[in-house]
């Protein structure tokens, strides 16, 4: 199966459709999830769903859905869901004027860390503004911020899984960034004494709208900061290829400083 972007549903727009956000607290037992799906599919077409377990032994099902009948109501759907023994509580939020917004969740949690979601183009625009307002100083500032974030994120990962495991599993841990949409990061050679080369496919910093900058200074710093925290030595980082300069992917060379 080909790699792709994960779809999530904090908002959905479907003019003329009756939309529901179904939130169910379930017992965290085998078959609970499927029993709820069996019930709701008779009344709605599910657009996107997510499930997760909670520390209190329950699980949450959250689904965006379009009603199969324009006469369907949220209260009816709640009653139907609560007829399942797996359901502990159910709330169905109705969309208005073809707009459905997730009013249940208040952010994202990965492990123990809270995350926010923002448009990639929006962040790139911030980088563009910094670079435009502060010129070459803005590029340096982005690099410094990249170092700081790369270092902190690597330290967080080291605290979670241990330094040895981070060093041994750099390849798979880099996919964590890919899953978050930062770009597919691949080390082209090992972190030997001569340093290493990192290729970033679909680098977020080169997203459309990033053409006013001269390179990926944040990512360049991020890689240097992450490498320092991981391998315990300073690295000088240079960008040898960049999508902003016409390359098919960005490439960075990290050499021990």
């Amino acid at each position: 199966m080909a790699e792709g972007k994960k779809k999530i549903f904090p908002v959905h727009f479907a003019p003329g459709k009756k939309l529901f956000h179904v939130v169910v607290t379930l017992s965290d037992a085998p078959g609970s999830y499927s029993s709820i799906l069996d019930l709701v599919r008779t009344k709605v077409n599910l657009i996107g769903t997510s499930t997760y377990t909670r520390s209190d032994g329950t699980a949450v099902f959250s689904g965006f859905a379009e009603a199969l009948s324009p006469k369907a109501t949220g209260k009816e759907l709640e009653k139907l869901i609560m007829s399942s023994k797996a359901a502990i509580s159910a709330t169905v939020y109705e969309g208005k004027d073809g707009i459905l917004v997730d009013t249940f969740h208040t952010g994202f949690v990965v492990g123990d860390e809270e995350y926010i979601l923002m448009r990639k183009e929006g962040l790139v625009h911030v980088f563009n503004r910094v670079s435009k307002m502060l010129g070459s100083g803005g590029d340096a500032l982005l690099f410094d911020e990249g170092i700081a974030m790369g270092s902190r994120n690597a330290e967080m990962m080291i605290n979670t899984v241990g330094a040895e495991r981070v060093r041994a599993q750099v390849g798979i841990l880099n996919r964590f960034l890919a899953a978050q949409g930062w770009g597919i990061i691949e080390a082209k050679d090992g972190p030997g004494d001569g340093g290493f080369t990192v290729r970033v496919v679909d680098c977020f910093e080169c997203s459309p709208g990033g053409s006013s900058r001269r390179g990926c200074n944040f990512m360049r710093g991020y890689l240097a900061g992450g490498a320092k925290a991981t391998f315990g030595r300073d690295y000088e980082s240079s960008e040898t290829k960049c999508v902003l300069k016409g390359a098919d992917a960005c490439e960075f060379r990290l050499t021990p400083g």
Binding site: M133, L134, G135, S136, G137, G138, D139, A140, L141, F143, D144, N217, R220, G221, E236, S237, S238
Partner: protein
Amino acid sequence: MRLWRILAAASLQVALLVLRGFSPVTLFALPLASAVLVVETKGDFESMAVELNRRGMKAHAPAAIVGKSGVKHEFAFALVPDTGKAKIVVDTELSVRDVDEMKVLKFYVKVFDVGPEKAVLCVCPRLGARAATLAKEYGITVLEDDVPRKLIPMAEKVVNEFVGQGGN
């Protein structure tokens, strides 16, 4: 970059003059004069560098210096010995109104990355109040005058004093 600055200065002049209701002749003459001043100021820094180099120093005008980040920064003037570590950097901000804090910040971020012993910002006509406070906080030496060309000898004096104190 030079062209951009010239155009920026000219555009600012045009905007201000339109607001003030100046005659069309003045409207075009003054931006041109402003552009010439920017170029002349740069030329004077080059002359200053030539003079300092004649005295055995390593002066550059304009100066392109690579900072700690690996980003290359441009300054109107700099003393950079063979070690590559800048001793003093000078930049200019020419405007038709008080220069705001964003220009100070723009200069400071470059200075922070390059890490010289002394940083001088030549401003025409002057810094705004908030910009002046910021420059003081950042330890930037600010030279102000209504006449851009007068800034050159002022900068030269500061550079010579710095050199006299063993700065080169």
